[in-house]
């Protein structure tokens, strides 16, 4: 007894493949690279005084940009290590009471002035890259944590019931059903964290953490607008680029069929 033709006709279409989106998604990084090239070309064409020369050498800019990326990536990885397991734990039945407390701490981390936090850390511990990463982590953990929790909470309870009902263990349901279905929301939070990190990594300059903040603050303190523009421009381009990468990751890791 095969299905009737009528039923077969009511089946819905296959979701659009990833291939169809590819040409649109490549535009963003291409445009951003062009902006950077234009900016650097303009810098090269200008007559620079000693202060500007010290801060706008191509090698120097690239070095600072790479440091900035390192700060962002290290901070984000640390955020993931903290936020993902914590988000899972706080959505389990036993730990519900703890979640408002933890969320409050994460909130404080984001709303307290990051500059104050980073200097406090430097004085309490030491200056440098890892202290800056720690301060960035405290700042950026909230979106990832919150999205992990929301992503898990919005999974249809009927699916969890179905999973348990057919004999999956609680851990099995978590790994095979809850987390895969929460991934799109979680990745949205990670994307937000990434962008916040890029902007905020500028403050690493205050404790010898490197990054594009060095160029920005040099521009401000020495009143050199060109230096300031290059520094902040690179940060903005990085932010948009990282946001694009975040979108790409979301597409790649979201399970098909959703």
């Amino acid at each position: 007894m095969s299905v009737s033709a009528a039923e077969a006709r009511t089946a819905t279409e296959t979701p659009p493949s990833l291939a169809r989106r590819s040409w649109k998604s490549v535009i963003t990084p291409v445009v951003l690279v062009l902006i950077v090239v234009a900016l650097l070309a303009y810098v090269k064409s200008q007559k620079l005084d000693s202060i500007e020369k010290a801060n706008l050498g191509l090698g120097y800019i690239l070095e600072k940009t790479w440091q900035h990326i390192e700060l962002t990536v290290a901070g984000t990885i640390l955020v993931l290590i903290i936020a993902l397991p914590l988000g899972v734990i706080l959505t389990r039945k036993g730990a519900r009471y703890a979640s408002p407390v933890v969320l409050m701490l994460a909130n404080i981390g984001q709303s307290a002035p990051a500059v104050g936090i980073i200097v406090l850390f430097a004085v309490a511990w030491q200056i440098g890259f890892w202290t800056a990463v720690l301060a960035l982590t405290v700042y950026g953990v909230l979106p990832s944590l919150r999205n992990t929790m929301v992503g898990l909470q919005q999974v249809d309870p009927a699916l969890i019931d179905a999973g348990r009902g057919i004999g999956m263990s609680a851990g099995g349901v978590l790994a095979k059903v809850e987390i895969p279905l929460a991934v799109p929301v979680i990745l949205g939070g990670v994307r937000t964290t990434l962008v916040l990190m890029v902007g905020n990594a500028a403050i690493a300059t205050f404790i010898n953490g490197g990054g594009l903040g060095d160029i920005v603050v040099a521009g401000i303190n020495n009143q050199r607008p060109l230096v300031l523009i290059v520094g902040s421009g690179m940060i903005a381009v990085l932010a948009l680029l990282i946001d694009w990468v975040g979108g790409l990751l979301t597409q790649l890791f979201s399970p098909r069929g959703l």
Binding site: S50, T192, G199, Q223
Partner: protein, 320 residues
Amino acid sequence: MRIRKLLPLVALTLVPVLAGCGLKPASAFIPAVSAGSIKPVPALKGVTIRVTSKDFTEQLILGKMTVQALKVMGANVQDRTNVQGSTAARNSMLHGQNDVQWEYTGTGWITYLGHDKPVPDPQKQYQVVRDEDLKKNGIVWLKPSTFNNTYAIAVTQKTEKKYGLKNLSDIAKVPTAQRTFCVETEFASRPDGMPGMLKAYGLNVPQSQWKRMGTGVVYDTTAKGGCTFGEVFDTDGRIKALNLTTLKDDKKFFPIYNPSVTFRKQVYDKAPQAFDAAFAKIANALNTNIMRELNAKVDVEGQDPAIVAKDWMMKEGFVK
């Protein structure tokens, strides 16, 4: 998501504002003061005077002193001190947005008037700055105080003993790999800062050993041994508090930085003798030790600059 994209740009705009706050209090409150030896001036009644300053402790204290003195003299004072960066406050005066600021003779000569070589004699340095700035920019420089808030390089007492350091030339005694410097970003870029100093003394310090950080962090890190040398200011109270010593500028590279009250001419002309007299009182009463003590009250004891200014002026009898 769009708002999120703007956030880094917003954060950037806030960086200068927040960085200025750093670990320093940034209150704009004016404590109640009344006339002492500084007396009210009828010509200034109802005149609006906007006081500005740079963002570090000494400038804040001097700025608050100015605010309170002018208030006692009867002017309608606005406290617009604590501006980030060494030239922003100066620029605001040139553009007519502020009226009075304490500035340093060396800074005026080199940074503002664009000369390369400082004048070694303090008195002469003041005179040439005063004359040229008045002619070119309509800025009046009052009689300066004698203390010299110049850049200095500080070391821990341990480092001093280890290498037998007394002068900046002695840095050559330290092996190149140990020559790590904690510096402010500004000092690292200014021609009269790190680059000039290394050239004048013929010292090789690779870029990787220039550690850029916020001012407050320099003192702490140098004292903890995070770097061998720290760029400090000679009148900073933290030098003594953290048991640091400064090296002598034996080649006299760094310019003289005597502090002096600078006015926009239009405002100065409202009561020139009164201004001269009042600020001469203050300038004469200050010296390096006193300034270090006042700075320490803020940076080490955590008092508010406005209170420190008031307490000192009351002690000197300038105000009640």
